[in-house]
Point group: C2
Chain length 260, copies 2
């Protein structure tokens, strides 16, 4: 399995738990050193359009002339490969893995290897997979690496935060009370941990309301704007040129300029 | 912390990892022995309406005269307490925890204790919380226990499957390719594990299409029906009498009869 390229031995000999992450952490630091900014697109709740935001953000930045990478760390329900229509894409292996180009973006995802098999990874396995994906991938010089984060604030998110010190968060929510309540918990945690937050995007808005906006601002977090519910998005899955014609995509393009 | 009621000592003395789950498993078996059927409402993907399905299913069963419990195990983004408008509800403690009544349903959720604090539980902590919630809760005699499952097929789902041998799955999806792809991975896993599946509900349908239905049936899984996207649901959050007037709720009522 390619994920075993980097083998490190800081494990408890009895239970296999990793006691000391330093060796891999330092490999990862080296792998990411030529990347100027790492934007983590995250949400406390699934189904808010996180992967569409991440993909559209990466595509928009690339269109503006930046060198961009996209890393899908959402092992629970990876989606960027469907959105980008990435098929038959294989990374080159050369002292590590060189992410293939997809629509001018350097693209990396666990799905390039596992595809549609059910992969019920145990928590420690997910952590290991993330560590090894980060340790193995040879990103070239990039202006932006966009990371499609795991949902919620569980292990996978905490590990990614620990492993990528220069992570900045872009948080997606919907106006739904149920979704925003989880997103809010994530925001509070990020604030408590002192992690930079670029702001919040309110997606799938059907009827404007100030509820999310005012609460986000009360937390001291930037509200980057709302995006109207766009029924046409589903039909664009897999077709980037169709995606780039949607109002959703263009709105992300506007929001990008607030983050540069 | 209440979750430490049941203390068991099958841990690795060096790393704290639990080596032997038997003691707690047998407590759990006893706790669940007076429950006739346990229905796990699950989805491979967040944001498909899983918690609304679980809540409406429990309410519908209760309205039909069955004795019903609802257990929220979605630690990532718990939502049933918002849907049911459960506020100021505290369980009684008496040789364990007696779940309080909410709308005639015996209701238990981690949120009865943690409420809106950010709780970034590490994987092992989530597993422990689930085990202890199951071990501590004194369900009375029930016809149905509806479990709002954690999203995806990670640790929390696998642990719940392991701990509740009589679990039957009711799987929610949306027509979205991205959602169904994750849901399909869950279905394949459940089939491989030989776990009973009552069927699949296709939620948030905007335009009818046979794609999900035919694929579900090809897998040999029952397709229980589609539910139209219901914009009015958001306004019912917290108000069960409003919820029970929606077409969504009534459709769940029809689907229930297929499962009895």
């Amino acid at each position: 399995m390619f994920l075993r390229y980097v083998i490190l031995d800081a494990k408890c000999v009895i239970c296999g738990e990793i006691k000391n992450m330093d060796p891999r952490s330092s490999v990862i630091d080296k792998r990411l050193q030529n990347i100027k900014r790492v934007i983590a697109v995250a949400s406390g709740k699934g189904g808010v359009g996180k992967s569409l935001v991440a993909s559209s953000l990466a595509l928009n930045l690339s269109k503006k002339g930046y060198k961009v990478g996209l890393l899908d760390l959402d092992f629970t329900s990876p989606a960027t490969h469907v959105i980008l229509g990435v098929d038959g894409l294989y990374p080159e292996e050369e002292y590590g893995i060189i992410p293939p180009l997809a629509h001018d973006i350097r693209y990396m995802s666990i799905t390039l290897y596992s595809l549609d098999e059910p992969a019920p990874l145990r928590g420690q396995d997910v952590s290991n997979a993330i560590i090894e994906l980060l340790a193995i991938t040879r990103w070239e010089e990039l202006d932006y690496l966009v990371v499609d984060m795991p949902p919620g604030i569980g292990d996978a998110t905490l590990d990614t935060i620990r492993l990528i010190p220069k992570l900045e968060f872009l948080v997606a929510t919907t106006p739904s009370l149920v979704a925003y309540q989880s997103v809010r918990r994530m925001l509070v945690l990020l604030l408590e941990l002192g992690i930079p937050i670029n702001g919040v995007i309110e997606n799938m808005v059907m009827r404007s309301s100030d509820y999310v906006k005012s609460d986000v601002m009360e937390l001291g977090v930037e509200y980057l704007g709302e995006i109207a519910f766009d029924e046409s998005l589903e039909a664009t899955l897999g077709d980037v040129s169709m995606l780039s014609e949607t109002s959703f995509y263009k709105k992300i393009g506007n929001i990008v300029t607030l983050m540069l």
